[in-house]
């Protein structure tokens, strides 16, 4: 990104639409974001990979090995004393559900191509966290990439004790280990639960056990032939 945006000269030289849009974006930076990014750059340097504006919120992607350092910087130079949450995300598109008969037609159809959100991602898993300042009233979302083969990242508990439960939840839901966490154990799920429910390849079990009721419960209007309505399902149990 060029530091010195010159809106006067830029449109004449580059009449393409995309270029103009980019100039317009640079010309109206959020002063709070600028301030936060300046402080982050001074404290972290190379560890800041990418930053983006997500509907007015600042999202910064940082290098995975700097994750604990990021928490220290957030609490120190960024003055973010308040931990809002720590969570995980799985960017893999969910596999198509069912095999026709039991397909859950009620669920929204998501795109099958993998795209990464604000500030990008290096792979399937990411951990993201939101911290805020109760004094300066600003907030920032940090993201970091997590290796899919051995998902692990540093724990924030030494800096923000409130990260304890959030990380336990993230660990059981995504299988991402938090190195240095005092006791990674199940939070919501039973102790013998297997699998990581929030991963995209973990199906919504209710749909696997029983077809979506909307498919089988369709009843015809009085006078209509019931066979025409129930076609394609394993209906007919009524008779």
């Amino acid at each position: 990104m060029p530091d010195d945006a010159t809106p006067d000269a830029a449109p004449e030289e580059t009449p393409e639409v995309a270029e103009v849009a980019e100039v317009a974006e640079v010309a109206t930076p959020d002063p709070v974001h600028e301030e936060l990014l300046a402080r982050l750059g001074a404290a972290l340097g190379e560890a800041v990979v990418e930053s983006a504006d997500a509907c007015g919120g600042l999202v910064v992607r940082v290098a995975p090995d700097a994750w604990l350092r990021v928490a220290e910087v957030a609490k120190g130079p960024l003055e973010c004393d308040y931990l809002s949450f720590v969570a995980g995300i799985d960017w893999m598109p969910a596999p198509a559900e069912g095999d026709g008969d039991s397909a859950d037609t009620s669920s929204p159809v998501q795109p099958t191509t993998t795209t990464y959100g604000a500030a990008g991602s290096a792979g399937r898993f990411q951990v993201f966290a939101h911290v805020q300042s109760t004094d300066r009233h600003w907030g920032i979302t940090f993201k970091t990439d997590v290796d899919e083969s051995a998902p692990a990242v540093a724990s924030w508990v030494p800096v923000y004790p409130g990260a304890d439960w959030h990380e336990r939840e993230c660990w059981e839901m995504y299988g991402i280990r938090f190195e240095g966490h005092p006791a990674l154990r199940h939070l919501y799920l039973p102790l013998d639960f297997e699998g990581h429910p929030l991963r995209k390849d973990f199906p919504l079990l209710a749909r696997v056990v029983k077809p979506w009721p909307g498919l089988v419960d369709v009843e015809g209007m009085p006078g209509e032939e019931p066979a025409a309505v129930g076609a394609g399902t394993d209906g007919g149990g009524e008779e």
Binding site: S84, F85, P108, Q110, Y188
Partner: protein, 396 residues
């Protein structure tokens, strides 16, 4: 045993009181010298509105360690949201904090609207603000009464339920649902306010102010209440913030932070005048006191909003099938229990790709292991009650 027939009653018998005392001491030492004791508080307990289990390690009456066990009511909303469309999700999230369901809907609808670039009309924003504040009043009025109940005072709880009912009637009158309004739509509201509702709201607000005075006399001014809550369960502001404790709990620790004033401007809050109440002590009493003041403040806000209620439609123009463009957004609001937020990631479909639900009670309760260390068993109940959490808001 024959010794229970005390010879002390016999005339002229001298009791060796020292010997009896030594005997009693010896027996106490024998019986209690059993080390620490681990006790389950819950899963069912009157101090909780659901099933929170607290495993406490006790040394006599003192808590050495406490470990909350949650998840008895985990409904997997974060997974479910990935299988539902945006309009369906407001029904789900109604059930997170069920005492202030309307307020739960607001940040989610806000997130979807911001991604879509839709803005609710001013009248809708005002009505949303009014109903959010009514939710707050309903939640807090119940708390103001119930907090007494946890300390053994039955009377205020009845007042709490009675006065909350007035507010729930208002919410039901406007939305059709006492607890689960599901009244928000992306782009506005399902309906306008019914005829006569505004006048009714004004009269209920004066009842709430009277109720606040009653609670101040009955509970906050009660000597027993004061001695049971002052200096008990103190949360220093910076520790509370690092644990993610928010809302009135954090303001009662002297942190002057309220998203209605300090967050990204939302609803009609920038247009009204209100005070943010804080208390420097951070103990159970100050959490009660702050909520008492905030209830009065909410009444003031509702009256202002009713005065300034603009005319016009309550629904913006939105497509019949809601598709939210690709992007992500963090939307947060100041809910009755604290900061409620949704991190919504959309990939352009009719439903979200990922929704991180940040609920207030989850973080508010996560401080318990730290907070309960060293307190006495009866104070555990006081502290739980003063933190004021909803189990659905912890377990989601």
């Amino acid at each position: 045993m024959s010794t229970t027939e005390s010879p002390a009653n016999a005339p002229g018998f001298e009791v060796d009181r020292d010997a009896i005392r030594h005997l009693a001491d010896a027996q106490i030492n024998v019986e209690l010298d059993t080390g620490d004791m681990i006790i389950n508080l819950g899963p069912q307990h009157p101090a909780t509105h659901g099933t929170l289990r607290l495993v406490v390690r006790l040394d006599g009456e003192r808590v050495l360690a406490a470990d909350p066990v949650i998840g008895y009511m985990h409904r997997g909303y974060e997974k479910l949201t990935e299988f539902r469309t945006y309009p369906q999700i407001t029904t789900l999230i109604n059930r997170i904090d069920w005492l202030s369901s309307f307020a739960n809907e607001v940040p989610f609808v806000d997130a979807a609207e911001r991604l879509m670039g839709v803005e609710a009309p001013p009248r809708a924003a005002y009505i949303r603000t009014i109903l959010t504040e009514l939710s707050r009043i309903a939640t807090f009025v119940l708390f103001l009464g119930e907090m007494g109940l946890q300390l053994g005072a039955l009377t205020p709880a009845f007042y709490g339920f009675r006065d909350r009912e007035h507010v729930l009637n208002l919410i039901e009158g406007a939305t059709g649902g006492r607890f689960h309004p599901n009244f928000n739509r992306i782009g506005g509201l399902k309906d306008d306010l019914p005829w006569g509702w505004i006048a009714e709201t004004r009269s209920v607000m004066s009842k709430i102010l009277t109720a606040c005075d009653t609670f101040e006399d009955l509970v906050a001014g009660n000597e027993i209440f004061l001695s049971r809550t002052r200096g008990i369960g103190v949360i220093p502001g910076e520790i509370g913030a690092a644990y993610g404790v928010s809302g009135s709990n954090l303001r009662a620790s002297g942190v002057d932070w309220d998203l209605r004033r300090d967050g990204r401007p939302y609803l009609a809050y920038p247009e009204i005048d209100f005070q943010v109440w804080t208390h420097p002590d951070g103990d159970s009493f100050s959490r009660y006191w702050v909520r008492l003041q905030e209830t009065r403040e909410s009444v003031r806000m509702v009256l202002q909003l009713l005065d300034g209620l603009p005319a016009g439609p309550v629904m913006a123009k939105v497509p019949r099938i809601i598709k939210v463009p690709e992007g992500e957004v963090w939307a947060e609001t100041e809910n009755p229990l604290g900061q409620m937020g949704y991190y919504v990631v959309s990939k352009g479909a009719t439903g979200p790709f990922r929704v991180k639900i940040r609920s207030a009670s989850f973080s508010n309760v996560s401080i318990l292991p730290w907070l309960l260390k060293g307190v006495y068993v009866p104070d555990v109940v006081t502290i739980l009650a003063s933190l004021y959490f909803i189990l659905g808001d912890i377990d989601r």
